[in-house]
Amino acid sequence: MSGFFKSSIGRKYAMALSAFFLMIFLLQHFAINILSVFSPEAFNEASHFMGTFWAVQYILQPILIFGVVYHFVMGFILEAKNRSARVKSYARNNGGANSSWMSRNMIYSGLAILAFLILHFIDFWIPEINTKYIQGDMSGLLPDGDYRYYEELTHKFVSPLRVGAYVIAFVFLSLHLMHGFSSAFQSVGASSMRKEKLQTFGKAYAILLPLGFIIIALYHHFNH
């Protein structure tokens, strides 16, 4: 296998594998978030479990961080290589005649997602790490004895600015996945991305999942 991941096709595999991982993670993230709409108690329980269970914290979380960083760093590397493969660009190029906007602009939808992830880190992840590992409070409780997770979540969705940014980011995620989902199957050679079933399934995932996240944000924004 020496040199596999340095080859053009090997890089495609790496890109697709990290993307598969992110797409599965996103499903899991959604499953927990949607609980907040139906049952604050269940959401609190699930969040506390994810936030304190050792296997999640010390095994899955580092893998996730690695997966995200790997994906966007590789995205930048591929973009740079691809740009250098055409020294002089066309005076007139009708890309819309043969390919989708989403497929030609993965780097821009990706950058929008990255900007959101940075915001998301500052918003949720850094305060979490601070509470749990710097202040050492692993209880997950508020001073009044209730779990803090639901309380914190609803708090985040008060500001219309933040909710707006959140919605825009998920629109970009949807655009990214409109091409990315089927593309990843093509990259690993599992199936030609032109297969109708794969296209339908991919579009459904790319629309419904981001839409679900948006609905959760709007629900909390208008209900608190």
């Binding site: 296998m1 596999f4 080859s7 053009s8 096709i9 090997g10 890089r11 495609k12 595999y13 591929l78 290589k81 691809n82 250098s84 493969a85 055409r86 020294v87 002089k88 660009s89 066309y90 005076a91 007139r92 190029n93 009708n94 890309g95 005649a97 043969n98 390919s99 989708s100 497929s103 030609r104 993965m106 091409h179 089927s182 593309s183 093509q186 990259s187 690993v188 050679g189 599992a190 199936s191 030609s192 991305m193 032109r194």
Partner: protein, 248 residues
């Protein structure tokens, strides 16, 4: 019809080059695009100017040499055709037509619209063949049973004429459709399986060495390919490449 042509002119590989405007008149809609170029060149020669250099040979869509990027698309706006098969009826009186060479680092411009596609030849040399002894006692190909499905798919892949439209159309100047077709054409047949592992590894290595970009699966290549080579061939090459690397 009367047309304005914006054509890339470049004296040689080192020249900077630029777009130059020309006017042609009384072009028949029954002409092919190359015949229209012939009219222009005759006009230029009569005016004592240097004609526009462009590649062409068979003029019937089989040699793949007529590389031109017309109005933002390889071989122009029609589907499933090379430039020599593109008819002027695809355009209308008064149109401005932009004509550029295929652009890729691995396809350097030699002159005007002529590019050097020998990078494709070097990829072929790296593995686009089978080794058989042809000294006279070669087995009859028909004696080897091959399923209709595999034969059809191999034949489809083998129709690639190496024109480079896939590279020219790809935003990344990736050659994966071409290489995917060349790998598939043999990978699907028992005669090709014998050297399959080395073939895919060597051809991909050469492709990377030539400076082609990576595939983002935009599918532009498949749409612009005059022979309708399908993206399935890239998926197959990716599979072949993974298994070849695992086996080694």
């Amino acid at each position: 019809m009367n047309l304005t042509l914006k054509i890339w002119r470049q004296k040689g590989p080192k020249d900077k080059g630029s777009m130059v405007d020309y006017k042609v008149s009384d072009i028949s809609e029954h002409m092919s695009f190359l015949e229209m170029m012939d009219v222009l060149n005759e006009q230029l020669i009569n005016e004592g100017k240097e004609p526009v250099a462009f590649d062409h040979d068979c003029r019937e869509g089989i040699c793949g040499s007529c590389s031109m990027f017309i109005n933002g698309e390889a071989h122009g706006p029609d589907r499933g055709v090379t430039t020599c098969q593109l008819h002027m009826r695809m355009f209308k009186d008064g149109d401005v037509i932009t004509i550029e060479p295929f652009r890729a680092k691995a396809f350097p411009v030699i002159k005007d619209l002529v590019v050097d596609r020998s990078s494709f030849d070097r990829i072929q040399h790296a593995g686009g063949y089978i080794s058989v002894n042809t000294s006279g006692n070669t087995q009859d190909a028909n004696a080897i049973p091959i399923s209709k499905h595999a034969a059809d798919e191999a034949m489809d892949a083998a129709t690639c004429i190496g024109c480079g439209a896939c590279v020219a159309s790809c935003k990344n100047a990736s050659a994966m459709l071409f290489v995917g077709a060349k790998v598939s054409q043999y990978a699907l047949l028992p005669q090709g399986r014998i050297e399959a592992v080395d073939r895919v590894k060597n051809m991909v290595a050469q492709m990377d060495l030539e400076g082609f970009g990576n595939c983002t699966n935009t599918g532009a290549c498949e749409v612009e390919c005059p022979k309708g080579i399908s993206l399935e061939n890239i998926a197959r090459m990716n599979r072949e490449y993974l298994f070849a690397n695992i086996k080694d």
